[in-house]
């Protein structure tokens, strides 16, 4: 009976026969060489009487549950090969990232398709199996005959991840390159989902993934993980790489992350940063964590008191990166003192030449940088705020606290 599918648990231990149908040994492992073909098993590792040998995929005549029959019985001694992704050693029972389901899962089995390719037979990896169905296979493997196991597991609903969505977790950057592991799928995820995944991984693996992501994606994800983990991730990286990531973060979040580090480590990172974000972050680091100054960000938009709606639109155009989070524009007088706050939505209904001063909130609510965190959250609640400006001793606008900062604070309690 010919099968179309083969499980890794069935492949392991399968007998390999030469041209005279004499058994040469049993399959110990099978390997992909992702640089050549990310789906096809390229080598089979066979344990003979004494040593391990390999056979190439095109030496195989046929594969089924009875065994592997060769068309070319030449065996090559096995050498550990850095370009091989070995199924049993590197995949089975290890953790991988399910890039579609946004989860870290543990591999219990692998499903291959048996496919004939110009007069030989190859295995192509289809799915990675997790869940109870594949557990039954692995636990019963070798105890019951494979066909019986197949029948037993059949009624259980399958739980598999297509190979395209599997992201191997490999801490060694050299080996990542050799195995051609990309993080494209991860970079496409929402930063918050990516952060959840990071929290499920061990520190070494986490650090490796962060180091491999581009700075912007890494910064977004890093902003979402919990502060203590931020610190350990930054510490595990080279200072210049860490600095690249911190530069991409919002200044208040960057400051919070650096504040968790030991002074030496945060200094080393600050030293590597560009001057502009560095000064902002340094200023923020001066404030106590549980005061308005420690909560605020220095990314905001302010206009002179007498600006018009057209001026405001122009200013918005120059600050596109703020648009996603911006809902208030602040007005300052000639001495940079805060005099008003304008909700962005009101700009749409006003004429281009209207002075924005006329659109401001009736009451201006603001806090000094030294205000206690509890008081700040109280104000948000009392006045139903989305943003709250923070001023320094002279009444100059120093930064802004936004509702998402408040939610984080409340969640941590």
């Amino acid at each position: 009976m010919a099968e179309t599918l083969l499980f890794l648990t069935e492949l392991l231990g399968l007998k390999v026969y030469d041209l005279k149908r004499k058994a040469l040994g049993r399959i110990k492992d099978a390997a992909l060489v992702p640089l050549i073909d990310p789906h096809r098993i390229d080598r089979y590792l066979i344990g003979g009487d004494r040593a391990w040998f390999t056979i190439r995929h095109d030496q195989v005549q046929s594969i089924d549950l009875e065994g592997i029959f060769l068309r070319d019985e030449q065996l090559t001694p096995y050498h550990n090969d850095e370009y091989m992704l070995r199924m049993a050693r590197d995949l089975l029972d290890q953790q991988i990232i399910d890039a579609q389901g946004h989860k870290v899962v543990r591999v219990t089995d692998v499903t291959f398709e048996i496919r004939s390719e110009n007069n030989h037979t190859a295995l192509r990896i289809l799915e990675v199996d997790v869940g109870i169905r594949s557990m039954v296979r692995q636990i019963l493997k070798g105890v019951l005959p494979p066909r019986l196991i197949r029948r037993l597991q059949a009624p259980i609903s399958p739980h598999s991840i297509r190979w395209e969505f599997c992201n191997i977790v490999e801490p060694d950057p050299q080996r990542r390159l050799r195995l051609n592991i990309s993080n494209q799928a991860l970079a496409k995820m929402h930063p918050a989902d990516l952060a959840d995944i990071m929290e499920d991984l061990a520190p070494a693996e986490r650090g490796a993934i962060f180091a491999a992501l581009d700075s912007e994606t890494a910064a977004d994800a890093l902003s979402e993980v919990d502060p203590k983990m931020q610190a350990s991730i930054l510490e595990s990286m080279e200072a210049d790489k860490a600095a690249d990531i911190v530069e991409e973060m919002a200044p208040d979040e960057a400051a919070d992350a650096l504040a968790e580090l030991e002074e030496e480590a945060s200094e080393a990172i600050l030293k590597e940063m560009d001057s502009e974000p560095k000064t902002e972050v340094r200023e923020l680091l001066e404030f106590e964590e549980d005061t308005a100054g420690g909560m605020m960000t220095t990314e905001f938009l302010s206009l002179p008191e007498n600006a018009t709606v057209n001026d405001a639109a122009a200013a918005l155009k120059g600050n596109e990166e703020l648009l996603e989070v911006l809902n208030t524009i602040f007005l300052v007088d000639a001495g940079e003192k805060l005099v008003g706050a304008v909700p962005v939505a009101r700009l749409f209904l006003a004429d281009g030449t209207t002075p924005v001063g006329g659109l401001r909130f009736e009451t201006l609510i603001k806090v000094p940088a030294s205000e206690k965190q509890d008081r700040v959250t109280e104000l948000f609640d009392k006045y139903n705020l989305l943003t709250l400006p923070v001023v320094d001793d002279e009444g100059k606008l120093a930064g802004v606290i936004t509702a998402d900062d408040i939610i984080s604070v409340l969640r941590q309690k």
Binding site: L92, D93, Q94, K103, V105, R106, T108, V130, M135, Q138, I139, K141, L201, A202, P203, A204, E205, R206, K228, M229, S232, E235, A239, E262, E264, A268, K271
Partner: protein
Amino acid sequence: MNTPDLPPKGPTLKRFRTRFLIFLSVIGPGFITANVDNDAGGIYTYSQAGARWGYLPLWTLIPITILLIVTQEMCSRMGAVTGKGLSDLIREEFGLRVTFFVMIGLVLANLSNVMAEFAGIASCLELFHISPFVSVPLGAVLVWVLVVKGNYRSVEKVFLGACVVYVAYVISGVLVKPDWKEAAIYSVKPVLMFEPSYIAMLIAMVGTSIAPWMQFYLQAAVVEKGITAKEYAESRIEVIAGCIMTDVIAFFIIVACAGAIWSVAPRDIKDAADAALGLKPFGKYAYLFFTAGLLNASFFSASILPLSTAYTVCEGLGFESGVDRRFSEAPFFYWLYTLLIVVGAGAVLLVPSGQLVQVILLSQVLNGVLLPIVLIFMVLLINRKSLMQEWTNSGAYNFITWTSVAIMIGLTLALVGITLRGGA
């Protein structure tokens, strides 16, 4: 890094302060594990040792502490270096089948431990004429809500608070006014007698101190706390301090029972609450503190064991786990957790007390069978360069660990033998 060669200002004080702050930040795993170790079963064993043999068994506490430190240190080191739980590592290195059977053993052993904890709650509160049919279901619901509705950090604080309650034993030990001179002498003077029940008692003391679940819980807690190899030095201090605390508490339990029961008339006690009753003639407070300690220990362990078991099993088998996930996201985790509590508490109410003792003895046997396996895995894992890099055991330390493991295996197997023959 470009740190200047000049020492920073006030180096010693500053370094001390930093280290102390790091120490505070890693507190939790070691103390909690150490104290769950003195659970209802542990307290019974120590009470029995003191009531029956007086101060004689005290000398075992020092070697027990050393064995405890050796095993616990390895787990916390593996947790800090690999960032993975013990069941994770067993799965990755030894495969699903091995993990599966270890997990089944762990669930069964821990289930009977949970029964022992609820039995402890029941017998404590019976002293105050509260029916088990009230106390046990109430305790079960409380445990369930505490863990499922709280988040791990706040729960950890509650647990750390519970650790402080163990001081109750120190107080009750002092109130009994035992013979401190005798206690001091026998703490360092080994007494060996070839009397089967004495030897069984010694083995039981070791067996109750080092259990399989602790290794899993400690390592997971170290990982959960986010302790890394860098903070490991501080974490190790915490673990060692925890181990010492376990046995200091054990010392006071033995001393209290020796002073109150053995010095009057040596006898066997039927459970830990019986020991508390024995303290009654020495004042209301000695008795109250002893009972409070027992209630706290039972409740505390009843909260930790089911949770730790559910975590460990889900991790090892690859199911979603964690109280921060919703029920629909981690159904296996919640079912296992809930079942452990329900079955554990239910058995105390439904199984006749005579058979319950059998169940608890069975748990000792299961623990005993499982422990050698877990210890051997641990030593194998900790010596893998690919996992532990430069943090593997040194040659000398390996000698100590293998010796400790061999002693533990010998003793637990002896305990299993004795339990099976009904000699204990």
